[in-house]
């Protein structure tokens, strides 16, 4: 039951919100509006001639099979990143929750990756998985895995998913741990007395009680996968080999800044925005209601 607090003031609330609102306006609404406007224009690479073309950019972009592939790839990538970022985080949180001695040391170590910039994380993984010298790819070759993300599209995809998810694991871990610690011990004890073994305790008590946390993390991680993984991809594969790791946000940048096709790049960023907004709305409208108890 949410209770609404009603304030009699008219100006004060806006004044208090102003700093945040101004930042959002300058760094989000303004560029977003600009993108929408630019997506209706056709201009040459040097910006000498500009022509209003209405929705033509969208028509061209959406009818391009390569772009549709990029959309499909982006969804696959995001799902993989979310799964790879959430499952190990939950596992680690459950383990950390059980640790009695030195708990804060484990927690600190597990949180550190979150402080690392995506591009740096990308570089790190690039070294780890470098085909001939990487400390991970080298033993892989010994066991007969022909690992080369520079040639093999699947290898490249695995690489960017792993390095994108790695950083998020720390973030998700924190939230899962907090979620686990907020489950009253007596609930688990009651379940034990009610005859639930460890597996059933997890599936019927712990996981449902973590559902609000999980839901929140899915929303955050989906947004992360759609937007913030640019740095990882740019520093590792540049969308290659071929187009095998080119996700929508990367293509926006590539078409706009490398191919210099500003109108179509803007149209893509509008499409990207619409997709993410739609996803978030769907998540909140239909799932949010189910996860809260």
């Amino acid at each position: 039951m949410e209770r609404k607090v009603v304030y009699p003031h008219l100006v004060l609330p806006y004044l208090l919100l102003a700093p945040q609102l101004i930042i959002i306006a300058i760094f989000f609404y303004l560029p977003a509006g600009q993108a929408v406007w630019m997506s209706t224009l056709l201009q040459d690479p040097l910006g000498l001639s500009v022509r209003f073309v209405g929705l033509e950019n969208f028509e061209i972009v959406l009818s391009d099979p390569a772009y549709r592939e990029t959309i499909a790839r982006t969804f696959l990538f995001s799902i993989l990143v979310v799964v790879v970022a959430l499952v190990p985080a939950l596992f680690l949180a459950i383990m950390a929750d059980r640790v009695v001695r030195g708990a804060s040391i484990y927690k600190t170590i597990l949180i550190i990756p979150y402080a690392i910039a995506p591009a740096v994380a990308g570089a790190l993984f690039l070294f780890l998985f470098a085909p001939s010298i990487g400390v991970i790819s080298w033993p892989l070759r010994f066991v007969g895995v022909d690992w080369n993300p520079r040639i093999d599209g699947l290898d490249a995809m695995i690489l960017v998913v792993l390095s994108s998810a790695w950083k998020q694991i720390a973030y998700n871990f924190l939230f899962f741990l907090a979620g686990l610690q907020s489950i009253p011990k007596s609930l688990i004890e009651a379940a034990k007395i009610d005859g639930a073994n460890a597996k059933r305790q997890f599936w019927t008590i712990v996981l449902p009680l973590l559902a609000p946390t999980t839901f929140f993390l899915i929303v955050v991680n989906v947004t992360y996968a759609f937007f913030e993984t640019f740095g990882v991809i740019h520093s590792m594969t540049q969308g290659g080999p071929g187009k095998s790791t080119e996700i929508m946000i990367y293509k926006v940048w590539y078409d706009g800044f490398i191919a210099q096709d500003i109108g179509r790049s803007a149209a893509q960023s509008v499409i990207l925005m619409v997709i993410v907004v739609a996803l978030t709305v769907v998540q909140f409208r239909y799932i949010d209601r189910k996860v809260h108890y």
Partner: protein
């Protein structure tokens, strides 16, 4: 249905706290046993040892003829009602009650029958589809009880189940729990620090203090014949008056200021004398053994009765006398306090044990 037996049970927590220091007692089948004692005396720990939520450091716990020391809580066939109820917040009342049966593979039809039966007994049939957060404290309490009774376990364990309710509801639920336990005939161990709950609920009282048992007996036995000054002052309200007296060579008892109190003893050394406020009078009492003079310090009228605070002798101790009806002697009035021989309790001054 089974008896619960504890043999020299000890519990030392990881930090080195010895919460339970070798406790032995038997709760016979179908008996309602109340564990009572002050905060931190190890009541919850003892209950959790029986439930299997804590490991036993040494000693044995037997339920029926089974030694359950190494058994998981789920294999002990007990049900527990927690102080905060511990209802599963994401499940409906029905699911909460069905959960334990489901885990044990009871058939759907059987679960349905038993949940509905229990709901009827507890008058919560109307709430079966609600979530715990949509219930009042008293209703949650009933659901917690329901979750315990649907299982038809060998024993019920209660850890201060009423302490989160308001005073009126507490009395009502107390009566209901008692009736329920009688009807179902399930062996029960009930933890509380409320001596009134202890007196009214139990067939059997176990009074604990500092991890050891002070006394075991029926509530009336414990009330009438406390084994130590601790029990004497813990059970009963207002508590028993306990004050030191010295014994001279002839066995005559007197207060610190020399005032004689009439009673005698053949005990060597100093004594603590115990007198319940309700056994004392300031009126004439033919054949009284305890006779001591004093002065009224304060009268506290409670309506049906009056509590008189009286300073014995010239300088104390101050004792409480429970008078019937209305009395209004002003402070300073000299009075003589009397009690019959049977009402006098004598405790050793050093050990506090009954002599």
């Amino acid at each position: 249905m089974a008896e619960v037996r504890l043999n020299g049970v000890r519990k030392v927590y990881a930090g080195g706290v010895e919460a339970v220091k070798g406790v032995s007692f038997t709760v016979p089948d179908k008996t309602f046993c109340v564990l009572v004692g002050p905060s931190g005396c190890g009541k919850s720990t003892l209950l959790r040892l029986v439930a299997g939520l804590e490991t036993i450091t040494s000693g044995d716990v037997l339920i029926g003829d089974d030694r359950v020391n190494d058994k998981d809580p789920s294999d002990r066939d007990i049900a527990m009602v927690f102080q905060n109820y511990a209802l599963y917040p994401h499940m409906s009342v029905y699911e909460n009650m069905a959960y334990g049966l489901k885990n044990r593979g009871t058939s759907k039809a059987d679960i349905d029958k038993r949940v509905k039966e229990a709901a009827k007994i507890l008058a919560i049939e109307g709430f079966l589809n609600r979530k715990p957060r949509q219930l009042s404290g008293g209703q949650r309490q009933r659901v917690a009880m329901g979750r315990a009774i649907v299982r038809q376990p060998k024993a019920f364990l209660f850890d201060e189940p009423l302490s989160n309710l308001d005073a009126k509801l507490r009395v009502q639920m107390r009566v209901e729990i008692r009736k329920l336990q009688r009807n179902l005939g399930v062996t029960s161990i009930y933890v509380t620090h409320d001596q009134l709950e202890a007196m009214t609920l139990g067939d059997m009282l176990v009074v604990m203090n500092g991890g050891v048992i002070e006394q075991i007996g029926s509530p009336l036995e414990v009330y009438a014949d406390p084994a130590s000054t601790f029990v004497a002052t813990f059970i009963g309200s207002p508590p028993m008056n306990v004050f030191p007296v010295s014994v001279d060579g002839a066995g005559i008892l007197s207060l610190a200021d020399g005032t004689r109190v009439g009673a005698t003893s053949d005990h060597k050394g100093d004594l603590l004398l115990g007198l319940r406020p309700e056994n004392l009078t300031i009126d004439d009492l033919p054949g009284a053994t305890f006779v001591a003079t004093g002065r009224v310090a304060l009268m506290e009228p409670l309506g049906a009765e009056t509590l008189a605070y009286i300073t014995l002798g010239t300088s104390g101790p101050e004792i409480i006398v429970r008078l019937q009806g209305h009395a209004t002697q002003p402070p300073g009035t000299p009075v003589t306090v009397r009690a019959a021989a049977s009402a006098i309790h004598r405790f050793d001054a050093k050990t506090g044990r009954k002599v």
